[in-house]
């Protein structure tokens, strides 16, 4: 899996967006040449789906051209959108077969839903919700699935911090409260015939005891999802994921696969993988047994403290070495 972020342009300003760091006054759009290179990268990596992110990817001035380039290569297309898309993009997506094109539309809890887009794209749409505070309640989603006639699937995500700061994220102190709410939601969704899945960063210990066992196969890879995903930015640089974008980036490699690049990023962050989102992660049996990797690395790194730099506090005669 790898995502292609085709533009930094966005028509919303979500406080929790982990791509906020990439946004700027003048939007950057991926060129067709860079997109072609990104598709080459997917092809030689054996990846069969082009996942377009932004910003809001449909705001790319050549969105349709890029999307058709991916489809011509025989790739499936998945578009991650907020649903506020230009008319031309909506009409094009609506004209595409459901088995080739999927759209994940993230609900913004404080905004009215993009009702027309949802109804017109119908079963192409999976609804998504980002849990960025402990009070975000996903219980409305099964009703929204029925009301708008979208696919009976929903995707929940946790808001993760950008390494450099600047976005709102779900503090791990609230994970257990969110886990209880998600467990209640999951049961209600299942009764309504709606399948729920989980994005990266969920950890087993946030859920009530016995819940993951009761989920069965639906629990999927909760706790061990980060591989990392790889996000290809509009300028052709690749980052392990948006939250870690400030700490590591490489040019889109010639002739190398996603697995090779992923291995290099994994190695680069291996020391920090000893951390987990909680203090208790270092003595956790589930983690010891491979059932969890400690949660989002960017969230774990929020617990780090660093040595004062030159000119900073220096009351002791010995000082920890600063970051080089």
């Amino acid at each position: 899996m790898a995502n292609i972020s085709v533009t930094t342009a966005c028509n919303r300003d979500c406080s929790y967006c982990f791509a906020r760091g990439a946004r700027r006054a003048v939007a950057a759009h991926m060129s067709a040449e860079t997109f072609e290179k990104a598709l080459d990268f997917l092809a030689r990596s054996g990846i069969e789906e082009a996942r377009l992110l932004g910003g809001e990817p449909t705001l790319h001035p050549e969105f349709q051209r890029l999307a058709e380039m991916a489809l011509r290569r025989g790739l499936r297309l998945r578009v991650f959108s907020n649903g506020r898309m230009p008319k031309a993009a909506l009409e094009w997506l609506e004209s595409q077969p459901e088995e080739r094109v999927a759209v994940l539309i993230n609900f913004a809890p404080d905004d009215p839903p993009p009702a027309e887009t949802l109804r017109r794209l119908g079963k192409r749409v999976t609804l998504g919700l980002n849990l960025h505070t402990p009070t975000v309640d996903p219980s409305f989603l099964p009703g929204a699935v029925r009301e708008y006639g979208v696919a009976p699937r929903v995707r929940l995500g946790l808001a993760h911090p950008m390494a450099e700061g600047g976005n709102r994220f779900l503090d791990p102190r609230h994970y257990r409260a969110v886990g209880r709410r998600v467990a209640d939601f999951f049961e209600a969704a299942r009764e309504a015939g709606v399948e729920a899945s989980f994005d990266c960063g969920f950890v087993p210990c946030m859920f009530p005891r016995g819940f993951l066992e009761a989920m069965g196969t639906a629990a999927g890879d909760i706790g061990t999802q980060c591989s990392p995903v790889l996000d290809i930015l509009p300028d052709g640089k690749v980052v392990p994921c948006y939250p870690l974008a400030a700490l590591a980036r490489e040019p889109l490699p010639d002739g190398e696969t996603a697995d090779a690049l992923r291995a290099r990023f994994t190695e680069r962050f291996s020391s920090y993988r000893r951390l987990g989102v909680f203090r208790e992660c270092t003595v956790c049996e589930v983690r010891e047994n491979g059932g969890c990797n400690g949660g989002c690395l960017a969230a774990s790194m929020q617990r780090l403290r660093t040595a004062p730099g030159p000119g900073g506090a220096r009351a002791s005669r010995q000082v920890p070495r600063g970051r080089s």
Partner: protein, 83 residues
């Protein structure tokens, strides 16, 4: 140099080399107090209470611990970095 307080001590990470050291107590307390800017003498006095040590033993533990961290690159003398 980065560190995080863990359930049973402190995890030290040398950002430059990637070296990781897990430090249990009472050494983890020494690290916390050092990074809080406390003097060696004051830390040694507190160690007497924290770890039930005689003053000489506390000073020796302090000396040995700091020397080991310095040798492993986790600590530098302030004057060595232009302070």
């Amino acid at each position: 140099m980065s560190w995080a307080v863990e359930a049973r001590g402190v995890l030290l990470i040398n950002d430059a080399t990637g070296a990781v050291v897990t430090v249990g107590y009472p050494q983890a307390a020494i690290w916390e107090m050092l990074t809080g800017g406390e003097s060696n003498e004051r830390i040694a006095r507190k160690l007497c209470a924290i770890a039930s040590l005689e003053p000489e033993a506390a000073e020796a533990l302090m000396r040995e611990t700091v020397a080991a961290w310095r040798a492993a690159g986790f600590l530098a003398r302030e004057e060595d970095r232009g302070g």
